[in-house]
Symmetry: C2
Subunit: 423 residues, 2 copies
């Protein structure tokens, strides 16, 4: 008999499971806070524990397979990135553009090189170069959701460092895309054949084209769109319209090959307080006040389910664990070096730690690597996959802890101007 929790009716199963997940997330978050660690780390750990419980006791609900929880979690991270985008404006973002670009480039190159070296060190001799390179590539893309949450918790989303972290994460999403196309092509081409420059160029043009269009055309259209919305006589227009706008850009971003969260972040950047002031006054609530409750119920589900993706039992075999620890260490080191790309006046450790968490993109790389074939075998073997996933998890646990520590160790005068939503 599996899980008495789940009934034949999917809606009612979802209701029961969501109630359980919220309770678990809050308990995990509370325990984390009591040991002075960000709530996000506790939510990740609780997810990991729940997945382990399910593997041990089959009657414990499997939190990873529920469509409803998965959907709300993924929509939640889209809404979170929209909220983060709302806290900055396009000019602020462009001001830190050069610094973000430096951080993104170093933050992709350094972990890739270090990961490649680590893999060459640990894996048996004769392992193809493509394998080592692919392992390095899995460490390159930052998962911004976790750092975004910590930055909001600590009111640091709107500091120069906060903006550079988010900007660099958006850029390394694009770089990550290119790396995946390039490395996969290299592996496929190892039996002969040239590099697919055409497909590389297409990927780059689409992604940059989307961002450029959003930041120019979008900024022209948005005030006109919301000016139109101002003239509606309906009630409760602000949130559905704003969220619809964010989801539309997330959708278009996905069509351009980017992660949905990049589009949602762009929507938040474009949408400026002046555009929605009339609606905010009429509805007696600011847009941030309206978005905040959505984030508070949906984002914890994302972090919990992310933790639940890790299979502890595979990870806890000595050799795999050691490899995972090494990859995590070089992953942290690589991003920490990238922090110095931000510029002299800024806190390199805050930027570096903010870039540490890896996540969805890394997991997508692993999944792609498992499907690529090299000499008749999967490019990434099962233990190597487990080690990379373990390393990604370790960075997601270490990232928020390190970022919170870095923020405490060197408080910025700008922090007091930060967003108020984390309060």
């Amino acid at each position: 008999m599996t899980l008495a929790l789940l009934t034949a009716d999917p809606l009612s199963s979802a209701l029961g499971l969501l109630a359980l997940l919220w309770l678990a997330a809050k308990v995990g978050g509370e325990l984390a806070i009591r040991i002075k660690v960000p709530a996000v780390a506790g939510e990740l750990a609780v997810g990991l524990a729940m997945a382990a419980l399910h593997r041990q006791f089959i009657s414990f609900p499997d939190v990873t397979v529920n469509v409803a929880a998965d959907l709300l979690a993924n929509l939640g991270i889209v809404v979170l990135m929209f909220a983060v985008g709302l806290e900055s404006t396009v000019p602020q973002m462009l001001k830190s553009g050069a610094a973000s670009l430096r951080v993104a480039f170093i933050g992709v190159a350094a972990p890739m090189a270090l990961g490649l070296g680590g893999a060459a060190l640990m894996l048996p001799k004769g392992t193809p170069f493509g394998v080592n390179l692919f392992i390095g590539a899995c460490l390159c893309a930052t998962s911004i959701g976790i750092s975004a949450q910590v930055l909001r918790e600590k009111c640091a989303a709107n500091t120069p460092e906060g903006r550079i972290i988010v900007g660099a994460a958006v850029l390394d999403d694009i770089l990550g895309l290119l790396v995946l196309v390039l490395v996969s092509a290299l592996v496929r081409a190892s039996g002969g054949g040239g590099l697919p420059w055409g497909s590389l160029a297409r990927t780059l043009v689409l992604a940059l084209g989307f961002l450029a269009a959003a930041l120019t055309l979008g900024r022209w259209v948005t005030p006109r769109l919301f000016h139109l919305a101002n003239r509606l006589r309906s009630e409760q227009v602000l949130l559905p319209m704003s969220l619809g706008f964010a989801f539309l850009l997330a959708y278009l971003g996905h069509l351009a090959g980017l992660a949905s969260i990049v589009g949602a972040y762009a929507a938040g950047l474009i949408l400026e307080p002046a555009h929605v002031r009339v609606l905010e006054e009429r509805e007696l609530h600011s847009l941030e006040d309206l978005v905040h409750p959505l984030v508070s119920v949906m984002a914890p589900l994302f972090f919990l389910l992310m933790g639940a993706k890790v299979d502890v039992s595979t990870l806890f075999q000595p050799k795999t664990l050691l490899f995972a620890l090494l990859l995590a260490a070089v992953g942290v080191l690589g991003k920490w070096i990238a922090g110095y790309g931000g510029g002299k006046a800024l806190r390199a450790s805050v930027i570096g730690w903010g870039m540490v968490p890896r996540g969805e993109v890394g997991l997508i790389f692993v999944a792609a690597g498992a499907q690529l074939m090299l000499n008749g075998a999967p490019l990434l073997s099962a233990p190597v996959q487990a080690a990379i996933v373990g390393a990604i998890l370790l960075t997601t646990l270490a990232g928020p802890i390190g970022l919170a520590w870095a923020l405490r160790a060197s408080p910025s005068r700008e922090a007091v101007r930060g967003g108020h939503q984390g309060s």
Copy 2:
């Protein structure tokens, strides 16, 4: 080629579709308001139009099959009923208990009797009594979501009439359950065999037992539970915990055989301002302020998808349409009579019109009737099914318009004390 909107990735399809649905819902609501009809009616009509467009132009997205929209819609109605429950307390509810019970009983008996008569009049001679009885039964249960939304829009949820409407709707959900068990048994037993008194008694005991337990044990547990939550040091506790509580009761209510919305409404009733005051002060937002944005984005999806369930082309055949109109008329008349059960001091027309919308429960009856076999044929033929569904739709369109009219025609002094969320 079907709908360019949908991509291979379910998340990004959901993002695109949700953006479209919010835009459509707001346009429909706006048009409705401009012709002085409640926004809900416009959202229903837009859903109907979108479904018709899909049937005409196959490349137009089919809004009824998207898992994400369906889930958010159904969670939305659960959250809406929780919000409605929050506006009242258990003692207020019990005060209007006797009146609610009278309204519920008349509101089930009158439409059933009138529907039975109407069916006997319209259907060919020799139609079995069971068919006519079942058609009458399809008209008995109120769908409270629509009236709840209108009551909130008009700040009338916390008037005596508002409380009686919601209370009677909860009770007629239970009566509806009993009627379905009873009528199905009668049809099955028409070939011999007695009535299943045991299963009837079990249904009644479970449903009433859940409500009794929620209103007694629940009221004892809730303050203690939230007192515990007060001691958490985490941020953003109030909404996830409250929503978790509502979803838990919705889940338990479903286990007891009730609609999920009944459990969520009970959770709202039980949860009193005093329980959450400490958390509200710490998080600088009232619980109603936090729940309100969720309702504003999710509830329109429910009304839109409800409209989309109707197939206009089947309905618009003359005979079917005539039968649907007759059933809708007797459906309105039956509930309008029930309004007089509320007591002399109250506005019978407000109560009656508030009970008019039929919905999910009626549709569930139709589905059950389509599966029941009588003399080797389905109990309800396809045209009869279309007519009943059409009648249900007509009541959902007529209900909010009638209720808004009744509220305007006889404003209550109590209205000014009503909830502020509709503002």
